[in-house]
Point group: C2
Chain length 198, copies 2
């Protein structure tokens, strides 16, 4: 938003209009990703769907890869529950369940295809890690660290390894087209929680 506001100047009317354009671009980009996959994704198509000029898009996102991952992370991340209540175990359960639910639909098939592509394309792998996986892991780590701070989770909990196990289990199901339902998510959360409690 800061970079965008600078680009648009400080005119009072500039900010709301550019924020709306930015949202329109991200929504159009995500819709195209879900409908066409990365293969059918282009800045031209996004510009046409969002009703903005290509130059406007390139001003905010220097490459189509950055735009694709930005739109994916925003739409996907909005479905995750990063709660930090006084019940850290329930917060972790809610996070696991929301992750499974978000990946059970078309976003999961998209994530699986991106991950498959990342295996043979280092640029896609880098974008996936930096623009998608790591930002969402940081939020998830926050949920676990809040549980440690509250004294409910053990102080020596290896947050990054717990997240490897959580995210890895979900990816594994996704890769093999196995169901990511609430019962599976709850059983995974219970299994992992045992290793978290103080």
């Amino acid at each position: 938003m800061t970079a965008m506001a600078q680009e648009e100047g400080n005119a009072p009317r500039g900010r709301p209009r550019s924020a709306a354009s930015r949202q329109a671009v991200l929504q159009a980009a995500y819709a195209i990703l879900i409908e066409e996959g990365l293969g059918g994704f282009s800045v031209e198509a996004v510009a046409a769907r969002a009703g903005v000029a290509r130059t406007t898009i390139y001003r905010w996102w220097p490459t189509k890869g950055l735009l694709a991952f930005d739109s994916f992370r925003e739409a996907f991340g909005a479905q995750l529950v990063f709660a930090r209540t006084d019940a850290p175990a329930a917060d972790l359960r809610a996070l696991v369940r929301s992750l499974a639910r978000a990946l059970a639909g078309p976003a999961g098939r998209l994530a699986a295809s991106v991950m498959a592509q990342a295996q043979s394309d280092p640029e896609v792998q880098k974008l996936f890690l930096e623009q998608f996986s790591l930002p969402l892991r940081r939020h998830s780590a926050g949920v676990l660290k809040a549980g440690i701070a509250a004294g409910v989770f053990r102080s020596d909990l290896k947050v990054e390894r717990l997240l490897d196990a959580l995210v890895g289990a979900v990816y594994l199901r996704l890769m093999f087209g196995l169901p990511l339902d609430a019962a599976w998510a709850d059983a995974l959360a219970e299994t992992l929680l045992g290793g978290c409690m103080a």
Copy 2:
């Protein structure tokens, strides 16, 4: 081995000779997989390297996919530690460490490429699950169930979910080319063990 012994008849000299041929075929197949990947893998190449007739191979393995996965599972599985001592926590640590070590080398790159291919090829996915993943999961489940039977692991441990977390975490590292060293494996094992103990 049973089907093979039947094919070869019950002549006293038949069994050792065919067992040796079978091992030669599996070793040749694995060597080609590691050197060339699935793309360079063919029954012709395996037959030439093992010094057996193609018809001999087809008698035991109806398709090249079955041969490839059989050789991969045998060579890979032999590196895993499925110990069942009176110290179940140490057995689980040894399993996680052996899994990480086995995948840190060329076998890991092969596994990652097969998994990537499995995303877009249902036949490869089926073979990977049935011929590789599920047999090794059954052995791993045995280690966990022995810990439950010994009263060291909790009786309501969800063995399959624990394996999702363990295998998923390893795959995740593999996919992103992150190191699978002993320190990482030990930290993962400790994190998971908390959820296992009675």
